[in-house]
């Protein structure tokens, strides 16, 4: 059948470029391999030339594939499944980019594009290591090209093509019986980008994270080439900037994800030990361990075997994490893993084609890897650095085992699952890792390589140690860290961790003067450690002092849920325009407005007033309506920033009732008076002073009155309401009561002469609009972000310095 209106050329071109990139990377692989193996320098050069040309073609092909995909999405060619499934007409260009890497194929494309960039730099910079390193690089390019190939090979599907037509994918859907199927409404627009992902973080976080992913291949390739070419130690200096770069970018990418989760997703925090988060964290940890052992080896000749192990594993774990997040195996444990895309075998093969050769060369050459028999001195930097690397490595193993439970279950047939408090399962282990690492990062700076005299060490270390003890004690005593949810042991561990983190900051900052004499150029490592220490401080304080502010303290509805007493009531219901008691604050839901042009985002204005300081501010949590094809909303948070804390809130439930314009009417009433409303009448039965009943627990010290009101509706049903007025801290407090079935809100306005009260009655034409809100306080969260920035700066300084020294060496 001839279909009307299809544009098939871009797809054919795109597919051609995919195949071209596959062939070119194959040629590059073979030529680089030949060049590496050739002994005759002339032959070496011949092969290398061919390899460079082939890699150049690969680069062009990959970028053309990307351009074609962007063209299809930008011009809304919805005959292509990629455009139809991931984009729609409403997306702005930056989100068109985001929707490309939201898709599995698109994220592979992003990954392979970064490899192209890295490969070009390596061709210019790698010198004699070019051919072997590029052999491995080209091999990854082959693997990644197959991921977006989308052809059948002996009956097995290889990769998912981004150029598939919708009618190819859903051949049996009846609409494709029609030649003009593109004119059918559901083909006129795409499914769009998930509302949660329509966020600037989605534009920048994936490229950075994937640069981090992609860059891990370089240390891997150098290490592999070192084993393969039996030049065991020739690469460790030239590859050090690459290891640093990889750790820096991957770390940045992970923390960007954390910032995204915190800033604009209603996860309620920056880190949840979700399997998908862990899957990126683990390679980073292993890489950081490898970075340290690599530095040790360059300085002392120790730890080369460990360096090989860590750098090789770093990339293997990236492949493993790719498998975990994309195979659907995490479906029951993660909130944000991809679903199974039918590529599991291919993804598994992707791991093994690297794991098996790496394991073979590592094990077979293990004995020949140079190592020093004599043990490190206990008063040497390399000894404690190595211990630190080992601790990082072990913690990463713990995290990956815990994350891999679904995989372990699949293999062994067991049915393990983390307990109901899965975050604590990690935190109770990682707190000790934090303690050890905090200590080690501080101490090790004051140790010299090879041998340090005890006098020197103790002379230098006592001051930072003392300062840290003072600061930490002050925080412990006055900081009100009373996180007793998990008992005293864990609380002690938190205080200990806080001391170690502070020690890490103080000792490393001090070392810039005491050890380096203010040589800032060489201070990269110290600065990165200061950043790391600050991150630990920020994490420990903000998590242990994180507070739910929206505890339901109004007293309403407690009877409704008999078990409520033992359970947290983290959400509070705010009726529109009714000031509600929320612990330290008065909260009022003021209005909801749609602010953006398409009307998909609704902002809720929540007015907050601090009871004590009278300070007022507004929170604007918002909802984004889900895109076509899905119902529901994305609930996005709003924050009020202080220098020392964030007030963090999001809407947890909403009633989109009509806009309520009615206000309270006042009726002066005395006991037994009757007030009419549209659906019946109400009688003030009595006024009680300081009652102690199921609703209120006032004592004789309080100054409170409660009105008992009986409401009789037209259908002669009776309801009771108990609005209250009480004086606390020389201030009147009002507790309104609501009768939802009658759309009534009752309150006591004031005491009037002659034993009368001002009864305030609000009647809404429809159900009174309300929101259920959750409000947290994150104290000192900014220390975490500051620490992250400082750590990145430290990394960048180290990279610059190591590139410079490498140049002078070479």
């Amino acid at each position: 059948m001839d279909y009307i209106g299809e544009h098939l050329l871009p797809g054919q071109l795109g597919h051609f470029f995919v195949v071209l990139s596959l062939v070119a990377s194959l040629v590059a692989f073979v030529s680089n391999f030949k060049s590496s193996q050739a002994i005759d320098p002339n032959l070496q050069w011949q092969w290398k030339k061919l390899a460079r040309i082939a890699f150049g073609i690969d680069v062009l092909a990959v970028f053309s594939v990307f351009a074609t995909v962007y063209y299809i999405v930008y011009h809304h060619r919805f005959e292509y499944n990629f455009a139809w499934e991931h984009s729609n007409l409403a997306l702005s260009p930056k989100f068109l980019l985001a929707c490309i890497w939201e898709a599995q194929e698109g994220s592979f494309l992003l990954w392979t594009m970064w490899h192209c960039v890295l490969g070009i730099i390596l061709i210019f910079r790698a010198g004699k290591w070019e051919a072997p390193v590029m052999t491995i690089m080209s091999f990854v390019q082959i693997c990644l090209a197959t991921m977006i190939l989308g052809i059948y090979f002996f009956g097995a599907k290889v990769g998912n093509s981004p150029f598939l037509l919708v009618r190819h994918l859903f051949t049996d859907a009846p609409i494709f019986q029609r030649a003009d199927y593109l004119s059918i409404p559901q083909m006129q627009d795409g499914q769009g980008l998930n509302a949660l992902l329509q966020n600037y973080w989605m534009v920048i976080h994936p490229p950075v994270l994937f640069l981090g992913f992609a860059s891990t291949i370089v240390p891997f390739a150098y290490a592999f080439a070192g084993l393969w070419k039996k030049d065991y130690s020739g690469w460790t200096r030239v590859a050090l900037p690459w290891t640093l770069f990889s750790a820096c970018v991957l770390g940045t990418g992970i923390m960007m994800g954390a910032a995204w989760a915190y800033e604009s997703l209603s996860f309620g925090g920056y880190w949840a030990w979700d399997p998908v988060e862990n899957a990126s964290l683990v390679p980073w940890l292993v890489l950081v361990a490898g970075l340290h052992t690599q530095v040790i080896f360059n300085a002392t000749g120790h730890s080369l075997r460990a360096t090989y192990l860590f750098l090789l594993l770093g990339f293997i774990l990236i492949l493993y994490s790719t498998f975990l997040t994309r195979s659907g195996v995490l479906g029951d444990t993660s909130v944000h893993a991809f679903v199974d895309s039918g590529m599991n075998i291919q993804l598994m093969l992707f791991i093994f084609v690297f794991l098996i050769p790496a394991a073979i060369v590592y094990i077979s050459r293990y004995k020949s890897i140079p190592h020093i028999d004599k043990e490190e001195n206990t008063y040497s930097r390399e000894f404690w650095m190595f211990i630190g690397s080992l601790v990082i490595f072990l913690s990463s193993i713990f995290v990956i085992i815990a994350t891999s439970l679904p995989v372990i279950n699949k293999i062994t047939g067991t049915k393990w699952s983390t307990g109901d408090d899965s975050e604590f399962a990690y935190n109770r282990i990682e707190i000790f890792i934090a303690i050890i690492l905090g200590l080690l990062t501080g101490i090790t700076q004051y140790l010299k390589y090879k041998q340090t005299s005890k006098e020197y060490f103790f002379k230098k270390i006592w001051l930072p140690a003392l300062i840290s003890v003072i600061i930490a004690s002050l925080i412990s005593i006055f900081g009100k860290i009373q996180y007793d949810k998990y008992g005293g042991g864990f609380l002690i561990a938190i205080h200990l961790g806080l001391f170690c983190a502070i020690f890490s900051v103080v000792a490393n900052a001090g070392y810039i003067w005491a050890g380096l004499k203010g040589k800032w150029k060489a201070a990269g490592a110290s600065i990165a450690h200061v950043g790391f220490g600050l991150m630990l401080v920020g994490i420990l304080i903000s998590s242990s002092k994180k507070q739910v502010l929206s505890y339901n303290t109004t007293g309403i509805n407690i009877n409704f849920d008999p078990s409520a007493k033992q359970n947290p009531l983290e959400n509070i219901t705010l009726l529109k325009n009714v000031q509600t008691d929320m612990g330290r604050y008065w909260a009022t839901y003021v209005s909801n407005d749609s602010l953006n042009e398409s009307g998909t985002t609704t902002y809720f204005k929540i007015h907050m007033q601090d009871k004590r300081s009278k300070e007022e501010f507004n929170l604007y949590p918002f909802l984004i309506k889900a895109t076509k094809g899905q119902q529901g909303f994305a609930f996005n948070p709003s924050k009020h920033h202080y220098w020392d804390r964030d007030i963090f809130s999001y809407i947890s439930a909403v009633d989109n009732g009509e806009n309520d314009t009615t206000s309270f009417k006042s009726h002066p009433v005395s006991v037994h008076d009757t007030v009419f409303y549209s659906k019946g009448y109400m009688i003030l039965d009595k006024i009680e002073a300081n009652p102690n009943n199921s609703r209120y627990h006032f004592t004789s010290q309080d100054t409170a009155i409660v009105a008992n009101i009986r409401i009789i509706s037209r259908d002669s049903l009776q309801y009771n309401a108990m609005p209250a007025l009480f004086i606390k801290n020389n201030q009147s407090n009002f507790i309104t009561d609501t009768v939802f079935t009658q759309n009534l809100v009752l309150g006591i306005g004031s005491l009037l002469p002659d034993h009368k009260i001002e009864l305030r009655v609000k009647e809404s034409s429809d159900m009174i609009p309300f929101v259920a809100l959750k409000v947290y306080e994150f104290p000192h969260i900014n220390i975490l972000w500051l620490g992250t920035l400082i750590m990145i700066i430290g990394f960048v300084m180290s990279i610059v310095r190591r590139i410079r020294t490498r140049l002078t060496v070479a």
Binding site: E85, H86, L169, F170, A173, P174, I175, P185, Q186, N194, G268, D332, T333, A337, F338, V339, S341, E375, I387, L390, L394, F398, I401, A402, N409, K415, W416, S417, T418, G419, D420, S422, E423, A425, I429, I556, N557, F560, D561, S563, A564, N567, P568, L569, E570, N571, I572, T573, L575, A626, G629, Q630, Q631, G632, F635, S652, A653, V654, D655, F770
Partner: protein
């Protein structure tokens, strides 16, 4: 014995300790029937929403009380109580992963992340959802 061996042994001992304590805190995947036999013990259940029963959630009255019913593949049913806000898109869930404990006939969830909703729409790489969309409004 060399010092490195001692350190290695210490690390192995710690690793084993960590592993044992980690294993001790694991729960297991259970069916509704087997969960009922392990009353009071934290377990994980994968089930579907029982659509024959209403989802009880009235945020105007109490935003911290959600009650619904689940049914697993073996046809067993249970009532579930959760003390946090209703997860979004819960009605559309294909599958719900619940962590909590059986308390009589009621499955109680005390942690906020004790419910994991698997929605067809969460990540759109799910062909079933797209197919459904294509065959709508024929």
């Amino acid at each position: 014995m060399k010092r490195s061996h001692i350190i290695l042994l210490i690390f192995i001992a710690i690793a084993i300790g960590v592993l044992i304590s980690f294993m001790g805190n694991l729960s297991t995947y259970e069916t509704i029937a087997s969960a009922k036999q392990k009353e009071g013990k934290t377990v994980t259940i994968i089930a579907k929403l029982d659509n024959s029963q209403p989802i009880e959630y009235d945020p105007a009255k109490n935003p911290n009380y959600l009650c619904f019913h689940i049914a697993d593949t073996l046809g067993n049913k249970a009532k579930v109580i959760y003390h946090y806000e209703k997860p979004h898109d819960m009605e559309k869930a294909e599958r719900i992963v619940l962590k909590g404990r059986m308390n009589g006939d009621v499955f109680e969830i005390t942690q906020k992340d004790g419910i994991l909703i698997k929605c067809p729409s969460k990540y759109k790489d799910d062909p079933a959802a797209a197919r459904k969309n294509l065959s709508q409004n024929q």
